[in-house]
């Protein structure tokens, strides 16, 4: 299947929906991807099961604090340049690239890279959402080493990584991201087609495009959008979208700390009285509590949508006074296994709670009022 510039807005908006607040500003990446795909006549999207077992694949994306991307713009030729540097480092040509995370801007970077090099991009990703750290990806959880890896900054400076564990790799790329302007492009997790098949979250590029299409065609508030969204999700690896809360952003503060955007949002009902929803942010929306009771937590997805249009809102664009609807969605089954939860449960982010699946928390969710 060929992806062209026209399919990008749907992919991008669906990817922001799945990004749970992270993944970087999609607007800039969308502008870049449109141009590159128009220039190269699109890019081939290859389904996971059509990939050759012997194919040589690597994951590509940006690492850093998403707020940085509001000022330090990416360059359209950087992703392809990063692939070239990686290939030279490995002494081997890549047959395809795959995304770290189907979230925000990071869902588009593999497309820009693949189009620039004339190779296909895999329909899938390593998170099924966005998450802030490398060891949280399905690839390392499934046992694929993160390195050799390379990083490229806006100036063309490069770094190479050879580490003994993904935890170490994460520390190193984070330090490099901070030192290299706050946002870098990395190519990592070299793997075979066979390894990829055992670890990837499949079909997420086309799934995000489908979500984006629903958001565009059925544009309107949650009452209008929830039923068609549920239909699409029913045919996916994810759980059902559940309404958590609707209200106004009463407070949001965030800062770039240690190479991440760290923040907290408080959402009140339109009336101002009644329960409050509190959301913890580390690049992504990680934990939602309603009056202190957990309503949804990582690795399940938390999406914040503009109330009127259901346009998903990234954390760096969240502002005081916005009227929003918050949805929770069960994550793909991969992340509910013990081995994955050891990497992505709320405790991995410093919250003193165990993971409870979203469907078991419905008692704390707010009903979606009619009218």
């Amino acid at each position: 299947m060929k992806l062209n510039a026209e399919s990008l807005p749907d992919l991008s908006s669906g990817a922001v929906f799945l990004a749970t607040g992270g993944g970087g500003d999609p607007h800039v990446s969308l502008l870049a991807a449109r141009q590159v795909l128009a220039e190269h006549g699109g890019v081939e999207l290859i389904p996971v099961d059509e990939l050759d077992d012997e194919a040589f694949v690597a994951a590509i994306g940006s690492v850093g604090a998403p707020t940085t991307s509001l000022e330090l713009l990416p360059s359209t030729d950087d992703p392809a340049k990063a692939l070239a540097i990686f290939e030279e480092h490995m002494g081997r040509k890549l047959d395809a690239v795959v995304s770290f995370e189907i979230g925000g801007g990071n869902s588009l970077i593999p497309l820009i890279a693949a189009a620039g090099r004339g190779i296909p991009v895999v329909d899938g990703d390593g998170m099924g959402r966005a998450l802030p750290e490398a060891q949280m990806m399905t690839y390392p959880i499934a046992g694929i080493p993160s390195t050799p890896a390379i990083a490229l900054d806006y100036l063309g400076n490069t770094a190479t990584f050879a580490t003994d564990s993904t935890d170490t790799y994460e520390r190193h790329i984070r330090a490099m991201a901070q030192a290299m302007g706050g946002m870098i492009t990395t190519v990592e997790h070299p793997m075979s087609g066979k390894q990829l098949k055992s670890s990837v979250v499949p079909g997420t590029v086309s799934f995000a495009t489908e979500i984006g299409r629903i958001l565009r065609q059925r544009r309107g508030n949650a009452r209008r959008i929830l039923a068609p969204l549920r239909e699409v999700f029913a045919r996916s690896l994810y759980g059902e979208p559940i309404h958590l809360f609707t209200g106004k952003v009463a407070d949001y503060s965030s800062a770039i700390i240690g190479g991440y955007d760290i923040g907290k949002a408080i959402i009140e009902t339109f009336h101002g009285s009644g329960p409050k929803l509190e959301i913890e942010v580390k690049n992504e929306y990680l934990l939602a509590r309603i009056d202190g009771q957990v309503a949804a937590s990582v690795p399940d997805l938390i999406a914040i949508l503009d109330f009127e249009t259901s346009t998903p809102i990234n954390a760096e664009r969240l502002r005081y006074g916005q009227r929003v609807t918050v949805l929770g969605i069960g994550c793909p089954a991969f992340y509910r296994r013990q081995k994955a939860l050891a990497r992505v449960s709320p405790r991995c982010f410093g919250f003193d709670i165990d993971y409870t699946p979203l469907e078991d928390l419905t008692a704390h969710h707010q009903p979606l009022l009619a009218g």
């Binding site: 800039v28 870049a32 449109r34 030729d77 706050g182 101002g272 009285s273 664009r317």
Partner: protein, 541 residues
Amino acid sequence: MLRIGIDVGGTHTDAILLQGGSVLAAAKALTSRDVSSGILDALEEILRHEAGIEQRIEAVMLGTTQFTNAVVERRELAEVAAVRIGLPSGRGIPPKTGWPEDISRSLGDHVYQLHGGYLYDGWPLAALDEREIESLIGDLKARKLTAVAIASAFSPMNPEPEKQVARRIREALPHVRITESHRIGQLGILERENAALLNAGLLEFAARVVDSFESAIRARGLGCRFFISQNDGCLMDADFARRFPALTFASGPTNSLRGACKLSGLSEAIVVDIGGTTSDIGVLRDGFPRESNIVIDVGGVRTNFRMPDILSIGLGGGSLVSEGGRTVGPLSVGCELVTRGRVFGGDELTATDIAVAAGHAEIGDPERLGGLDADTVAAAGAEIHRMLNAGIEQMKPGSAPLPVVLVGGGAILVREPLAVASTMLTPEYSGVANAIGAAIARIGGEAERMISYERIPRQDAIRELTLAAKRNAESAGADPASLLVADIEETAISYMPGNVVRLRVKVTGDIARRKEGEGGQYQPRAASSSRAAQTGGEAEL
């Protein structure tokens, strides 16, 4: 004090004469092509109130949608050199990427990317390149360009590169008009750059329009102070408006909200401005519009201007009513209501027809509504109220019912108290609420610094900046006794040790009365340029 408010809209020019809190006279004229004769017509009518009153008028405040309309309609825009300082970042994403074709063309194909700018942690992104600046200036000369917009990476944190390049251009080409992005927007380089570009494109038009505003007013014998209202409900003087015309974007809704505040005497209320096609719902908080923070398109171009938080719903006097009255709007006959609405002899059933059928309004010819059944009228009436209630519910800041002020011609659609309203009023003169809003706009002053709270306690820092902001407002013409803190904004600068924040304090106040013996031609230098003057880089208290 005696003052005049003028609202120059796309179709009508309204003027009001205000003494203290009361409206002495109001007039409506058609906006003329040259702008000034429409103003003169409206002025003529209100000045008839009393012979020789011109001498006693202390200030004229004007609100206008001229600049917003110019952008939306892609007219009167000059060609602009778009200069971004941020290479080597952003290669392949030049200024104006993603703009609608037509407006991009209006500004011409003059796009420049230079090395320079800063990173999030204050480290230089790249050094400015002397040869690039030279070649830019050569190009400006060769292409005979007269307007330039400059944006550099992280300029809200460090504007030095923008200032340096602007200085170089000014030295070489003193006639060129320049907009530096840090003076007009916040974090988000693409949106800030877009705002600067639109502003630069409007500079030439602004010089002309503001001149014609001024000459109309002076021609009518008004020698007093003259201001133009901006999107945040504050005034700027004519000189500032010539340099920052884009700051008038969305001043229309702001003036409508402020006017409703004045007319109703309420400072906490919901204001519903019902026009022909939409109802614009806004919130008054402490007498000022609540602001929105989402990315806002102006004529298809993304910007990050501070604008009032307005919810537009598709309900107006011209809204089409469906079979049986089950739905109303969003389709509307708009300004063709007076020919296509049934009471005006047309075939379309509109919300206005429903209001007339219900006996709530006397417009057109009720005879033409024969055959319209009572169920349809009741159902459509209920739908109109349901839509307004639902919209207001979304905008309301708390659970308690709030007063609702209705302004605009469509206020006749509302015939029973709205459930979400504690009280409901349609004040006299609500048809010229915008001109009244302009007349009572305030003088603002801002001060902004980087401060380490470890070195200066937070309360002391706020007190000190408040004083600085008050000094700025006073020198811009505000009455010192009326100054109030309007906003305190803190942005943590996490990369700097010592709990550093960027602190911004904004105060606003009423316009000061003219002092004894002061000439009629008194012109404050800049009502709001304090924003620019104080938005310094790394200055610390």
